[in-house]
């Protein structure tokens, strides 16, 4: 196994930059630069020089000894001044030792996985954590990273193991004195695992949306105040994380952190019948985006109400605008009622995010659905009677295997590449 190194912080000017070196020669590489190293688990200030004694930087040297490091290998981290030139000089000096090479994307994490320091779901959690922008996303990612998936899988697995053991006992020890009627307990166990799995399935869509961010479409007829509202939301005391022009000229997006939830508000083209070809396309697109969004807010003009207007999509919230004129509803212009609108949206979205949801990646959903399919078959056989004991046992085994794959106990080589491609060097 080769020793690898990479910049662990973002490239560019910063206060501090961290270079991580991991592998069997990590200590030797660092010794070449720093002269000597602190004791395991300790740090020390050192002057870093290259082979020709040229001064590179003065920085902190942190030493970790296998297996007590992120990767599970011998590791050294160098905290340098965050200068592009310093980083480049130190990287050059490390490469010149001939003992280490630049890490591939995700390679540190891959090694952590190989050495059993992380399981597959934890790796996904780490990736999410690095990508997290809001508090709710952070908590979700931390949950996954801290091993909640393993706990979930282990708990289900323990129940399935118990159920399988009871069934196998009636098969393999039929000639001995084992309880013949194990059905009540087996039924309970299968039921309880199915319940836990269903909880994950129903929580999945919310959790997955949380990971990617929610979309809230603002729709209505032209000139009801949609754009003003969007500007209001953007201009409020809410952090704007990005402002992207929509895929079409007519959809504008504003991404905000709403009480910790990542929410993108969409300002869509005004809905009306039109003969203009371009506008027609814009309206169709608006309906499409609105239909795909997590929530739809319909704005209606309080001053010139149109009765019997059909937006063509299902509506979650309806607000009358221009309260500055009518005294009813909200006003994007003065800001009246916007807090209430945001609170409504936030509450509705928060409702969709369950505290117990752990499954948040498509890979999780697939494994859990596989487990569910096996257990549903097990349940079916179970209710058909003990005659199918050997078939019941097969389904239980398949179910346990599907759960195993959640945390990567088997069959993961195929997904590994994909996961690691998402990682940036050094993270």
């Amino acid at each position: 196994m080769q020793t690898i190194f990479a910049l662990a912080t973002a490239r560019g000017k910063s206060g501090v930059a961290v270079i991580r070196i991991s592998g069997p020669d990590a200590h030797q590489v660092a010794t070449c630069l720093a002269g000597d190293l602190p004791r395991p688990g300790q740090f020390a200030l050192r002057t870093l020089r290259d082979a020709s004694e040229l001064l590179l930087d003065e920085g902190l040297v942190l030493r970790f000894d296998a297996p007590r490091s992120f990767t599970g290998e011998d590791t050294v981290e160098l905290q340098l001044h965050g200068s592009i030139a310093v980083i480049r000089a130190v990287e050059r000096a490390i490469a010149e030792t001939g003992l280490a090479r630049v890490a591939e994307p995700g390679e540190f994490t891959r090694r952590a996985l190989m050495n059993g320091n992380l399981d597959l779901a934890q790796v996904e959690g780490l990736s999410d954590l690095i990508a997290a922008e809001t508090e709710a996303q952070r908590q979700q990612a931390q949950g996954l990273f801290s091993g909640r998936m393993r706990k979930f899988a282990d708990r289900c697995r323990a129940d399935l193991l118990r159920a399988a053991a009871l069934i196998e006992a009636t098969i393999d020890f039929a000639d001995e004195e084992v309880p013949v009627d194990v059905s009540p307990e087996v039924g309970d166990l299968i039921g309880s695992v199915l319940g836990a799995i269903d909880e994950q399935i129903s929580g999945f869509s919310g959790a997955e949306r949380l990971r990617h961010g929610f979309e809230v479409a603002i729709i209505g007829q032209p000139n009801v105040g949609k754009s003003t509202l969007l500007n209001r939301i953007a201009g409020r005391d809410i952090a704007i994380t990005s402002e992207i022009a929509g895929t079409t000229r007519d959809v504008l997006e504003v991404r905000v952190d709403l009480d910790g939830l990542p929410v993108t508000f969409l300002d869509t083209a005004g809905l009306r019948d039109s003969d203009d070809v371009i506008e027609k396309i814009g309206v169709a697109r608006a309906r499409e985006r609105a239909a795909a969004a997590d929530l739809r807010i319909l704005l209606e003009d309080g001053v010139e109400p149109t009765h019997g207007f059909d937006p063509g999509v299902a509506i979650d919230f309806r607000y009358e605008t221009k309260s500055d004129i009518t005294g009813r509803g909200i006003s994007a212009f003065t800001g009246e009622g916007i807090d209430r609108l945001l609170a409504d949206v936030s509450a509705a979205l928060a409702d969709r995010v369950s505290d117990t949801a752990i499954a948040s990646h498509e890979r999780h959903r697939q494994a859990i659905m596989r487990a569910r399919a096996s257990l549903a078959e097990a349940d079916l056989v179970f209710h058909a009677g003990i005659e199918g004991a050997e078939i019941l046992a097969l389904h239980l085994r398949d179910g346990a295997r599907a759960l195993d794959s959640l945390i990567g106990r088997m069959d993961v080589e195929a997904v590994l590449g994909e996961i690691f491609a998402q990682f940036c060097i050094g993270k």
Binding site: P24, M114, E168, I171, F173, D175, E387, E390, R409, E413
Partner: protein
């Protein structure tokens, strides 16, 4: 140098040795079986029964490969019973009680008839090595025998110690000397030895039992035999008695626990959890006030009864007291006390999948010496070790059965990959491909293989291919013609009138549908032999599951095809944890598939091993 009259020497005349010698001779090797006493060849050391759950599967497979255990069991069977008769066909296990004398006679007869095979009486005391290879054996009288391969099947004899209460005597089993010199020789060779124990109940005089007061268990009316060559039992079928321990029995045992060899601390070896002594049962399951005992006659003309369920290492006076507290045994006379036996075994993780000890090329190990228990487990290993020893000497490729192919494959893979922590016994739940590894289709799975190895006799061959032909005919009949729900309803099957046409195979897969229904639909099917029709019905029952499992089995086969060189330097593979590296070094898996089954193995570590193999391949190319 002496001229070598033998290719293969088999040491031991137990179940492993008998099967090994017979297989080796069938495979064309000049074989000799060396054992301490010719009259004890084929002796059942413990219970007078063959088969059971998982074990019955093994016997059917041994038979399908041309072995002798099934034939001997059929010739000696006095109470055939198919276990799990009311459960699915995949988990039904044939079992019989055997007349000990008939069983032993059958084995000796079958060995005697086998060309290429001689029997030699003597105690092997030494293994002769040359250049690190096995070259023969030395007997205790000083003589030497040379051969290209040696199969060691000494069972419980290595440093065997018998315990009855605090009384200790050296012995391979009651009435036999232990094998101490050979055990010492193995120790000197630095083989990884461990200690296990097992036990046996006291034997009772039949005429001293009050049979009239007992429930009896009858044999099956339509017995399932072990051998594909057998048609019907030849010995008279008899019933056995059933009685139970009671509060008084348990009191006597609890009160004398400290006098038991097990509980008195005289035994260090580990015993099997699934075959507990009566002391264990009383202690570990204290809430149970009674345990069942089967009183099994040891033979048709024998006055000895084997009380199945009360094995013990208590002193004789306590044995007598608790036995006599049991209903029906108030006057029982003990003919031979129960005892526990401790013996050496060799860590099977050191063996290859051929059951060879790679540290001593040419030396094969089979049976209880590998940490198993049971006649069937011993015989299954004997068969494979015998075949592989012969093939080694004759320069043929090894035979290894896979986990998706046979219980025998599961057994050997478990042993060499996972090792043992207690005496290993087969269970159906150990086989992940249980639905396809059935007792009914052992011949279809294995006989073609045995045929290509050239180890089955002509009569078996003819019978087998006839049956295969009939099966094929049946399969065609069951898949070509399709029937409307209306056709089907006429036979009395309750079915939705959904307009869908179904094949005979699909109809047979319905619950509650039997061959008699399909007989009405397809007259040509009705004309097939019963055995063939039943077999096809079983196939139909499991078809969807077996098809689904096929993908797993194919993936497994791909991994099993990836050979790991025995010389692979695990120390040089970075990224492996020390624990895994240690296991890999000890087990030295032969294939990537086997490596994947090592306890604690991770996909990541497998990827590292694979990369390393590829790397070495490239370097060699």
């Amino acid at each position: 140098m002496k001229q070598t009259p033998f290719d293969v020497i088999v040491i031991g005349g137990g179940h492993a040795g008998a099967e090994a010698a017979h297989a080796s001779a069938r495979a064309g090797a000049r074989t000799t079986l060396v054992t301490m006493r010719a009259d004890t060849i084929g002796v059942m050391s413990c219970n007078p029964a063959i088969g059971g759950l998982g074990k019955g599967h093994l016997v059917r497979e041994i038979d399908a490969m041309g072995g002798i255990m099934g034939l001997a069991a059929d010739r000696s069977g006095i109470q055939f019973r198919l276990l799990n008769r009311r459960k699915g066909p995949a988990v039904r296990g044939p079992r019989t009680q055997s007349d000990r004398a008939l069983y032993k006679a059958a084995i000796q007869d079958l060995l005697g008839q086998q060309p290429n095979l001689t029997i030699l009486v003597g105690e092997v005391a030494d293994l002769i090595l040359r250049d690190g290879r096995i070259e023969g054996v030395g007997l205790s009288d000083g003589s030497e025998l040379r051969a290209g391969a040696v199969v060691l099947t000494t069972g419980t004899f290595l440093r065997g110690v018998i315990h009855i209460g605090d009384r200790k005597l050296e012995g391979g089993r009651m009435g036999d000397r232990p094998s101490n010199r050979l055990a010492q020789r193995l120790r000197d060779l630095d083989l990884p030895l461990g200690r296990l124990k097992t036990g046996t109940p006291p034997r009772l005089r039949s005429s001293s039992i009050a049979w009239d007061s007992l429930d009896m268990q009858a044999p099956d009316d339509d017995p399932m035999l072990f051998s594909y060559l057998s048609k019907a039992p030849t010995a008279r079928q008899i019933s056995c008695g059933i009685t139970h321990t009671n509060a008084r029995t348990h009191e006597i045992i609890s009160g004398n626990l400290s006098r038991s060899a097990m509980y008195g601390g005289h035994i260090e070896g580990v015993g099997p959890r699934y075959c507990p002594s009566i002391e264990d049962k009383v202690v570990r399951f204290a809430d149970k006030s009674s345990h069942q005992i089967f009183l099994e006659p040891e033979g048709l003309d024998s006055d000895v009864v084997y009380p199945n369920g009360i094995s013990t290492s208590l002193p004789e006076d306590v044995q007598e007291a608790y036995v006599r507290s049991i209903v029906g045994l108030e006057q029982a006379e003990i003919l031979q006390p129960g005892y526990a036996i401790e013996y050496d075994y060799v860590d099977p993780q050191r063996l290859t999948a051929e059951l060879e000890l790679p540290d001593l090329p040419g030396l094969f190990l089979a049976g209880q010496i590998n940490g198993t228990t049971g006649y069937e487990e011993a015989a299954a290993q004997g068969l494979m070790a015998g075949l592989n020893a012969a093939r080694r000497v004759l320069g043929h490729a090894p035979v290894i059965l896979g986990r998706a192919e046979a219980y025998i494959g599961v057994l050997i893979d478990d042993l060499v990959t996972r090792g043992v922590t207690e005496p290993y016994r087969m269970f159906t739940s150990r086989a992940e491909y249980r639905l396809s590894l059935r007792a009914d289709n052992a011949d279809q799975r294995l006989t073609p293989k045995a045929d290509t190895l050239g180890v089955i006799a002509e009569d078996r061959r003819v019978l087998f291919f006839q049956k295969m032909e009939a099966l094929d005919r049946g399969r065609v009949l069951l898949s070509t013609k399709r029937f409307t729900p209306r056709d089907i309803a006429v036979t009395g099957i309750v079915i939705n009138q959904d307009g869908q046409r179904r094949s005979g195979m699909e109809i047979l897969a319905f619950p509650d549908v039997g061959v008699e229904h399909v007989d009405q639909l397809i007259p040509e099917f009705a004309a097939l032999p019963d055995e063939v029709r039943t077999q096809l019905a079983i196939e139909a029952t499991y078809k969807t599951y077996v098809d689904r499992q096929q993908r797993d089995a194919d993936a497994l086969r791909r991994d099993e095809d990836l050979i790991i060189p025995r010389t692979l330097a695990y120390a040089e593979i970075g990224g492996l944890s020390n624990e895994l590296r240690g296991k890999l070094d000890r087990i030295r898996p032969g294939t990537l598939g086997q490596a994947g089954r090592i306890d604690g193995m991770t996909p990541a570590a497998l990827a590292l091993i694979l990369t390393r193999i590829r790397h070495e391949d490239r370097r060699r190319a």
